[in-house]
């Protein structure tokens, strides 16, 4: 198996283990859009839950530092088009809140429990994203 696929499988296992631990120990779904979205609201009446969510996000943000300390490195290769970044960010923000989840909440957590809503959501966002990438390639004249 190519090394990329092996790293993908192992990395996916870590993601699943993190989500599983959060579920079994804390009773929470490891959906990043749900956690971040709830953090953006005032913590009224549930300060402890708010702090828990903040801790999860701090863990995510600091992960590259720990990965680096362990000797690993990853590049982030992304478009430099500011308009595209703003449009993409807005769409992802609105869409994940409206659709109640993203690749982690619906993909890793929801599909693993065979939730029909999550399977429908994943099929929809993957299908649309594949179409968008195909159209981008067409418009740019087939070049990468």
């Amino acid at each position: 198996m190519p090394e990329d696929w092996m790293n993908g499988l192992l990395g996916g296992g870590l993601i699943g283990a993190a989500a599983g631990a959060l579920l079994l120990l804390n009773g929470r779904i490891a959906g990043v859009s749900g956690i971040v979205g709830a953090l953006l609201k005032s913590p009224q009446g549930e300060a402890l839950a708010w702090i828990e969510r903040a801790a999860f996000v701090i863990g995510l943000v600091t992960a590259p530092l720990v990965f680096g300390a362990l000797g690993g490195a990853r590049d982030v290769i992304i478009t430099q088009n500011a308009g595209l970044l703003i449009a993409g960010g807005l769409l992802v923000g609105v869409g994940t809140r409206m659709g109640s989840g993203c690749t982690s909440g619906h993909g890793i957590c929801g599909m693993a429990r065979l939730s029909r809503r999550s399977i429908a959501a994943v099929a929809t966002f993957m299908g649309v994203a594949v179409l968008v990438v195909a159209l981008k390639t067409l418009i740019s004249g087939g070049g990468a």
Binding site: G11, G16, G20, G27, I29, G89, T96
Partner: protein, 142 residues
């Protein structure tokens, strides 16, 4: 204790995104590009994540409460409605345009430079806009 578990869960989640290279939008777009030079890595990430996560759900099914207290989330009972499909479509549109979804966006903040920072700022603005402006209207028309 719960806070420490949440911190470690986020950390391990982020390490998984790093190891699998899902923090790299080019890698994600290469998976979505099924008519081009298709890169299957994301499918392996999903397979690994689902296998372990499904085991956790199976264990969760045998108990009522989480180890540190609190009720375990029940099976979702909602219908597949227009909001779910509409939201997933908008998300797919943004994901296909840039190749970034919320987990890798947050994890990439310290290593992704200004493009990831700009994306995250727009994403947070989109979330706030949805919850403050769009959700109340959808609730009224539903």
């Amino acid at each position: 204790m719960r806070t420490l578990i949440a911190l470690l869960s986020g950390l391990v989640f982020g390490l998984g995104l790093m190891l699998s290279d899902m923090v790299n939008p080019a890698r994600v777009l290469a998976f979505l590009d099924i008519f081009g030079a298709w890169d299957l890595t994301l499918a392996f990430v999903m397979a690994g994540g689902l296998a372990v996560s499904a085991g956790a759900w199976a264990l969760a099914g045998r108990r009522d409460r989480a180890v540190c207290g609190g009720v375990l989330p029940g099976k979702p009972t909602g219908a597949i409605d227009a909001q779910l499909i509409g939201g997933a479509s908008l998300f797919g549109l943004g994901w296909g345009l840039v190749g970034v979804c919320p987990g890798p966006a947050i994890t990439g903040l310290l290593i992704g430079g200004w493009p990831i920072a700009l994306f995250v700022a727009a994403m947070l603005a989109g979330m706030i806009a949805h919850d403050a402006l769009i959700a109340p209207r959808l609730a009224r028309t539903a």
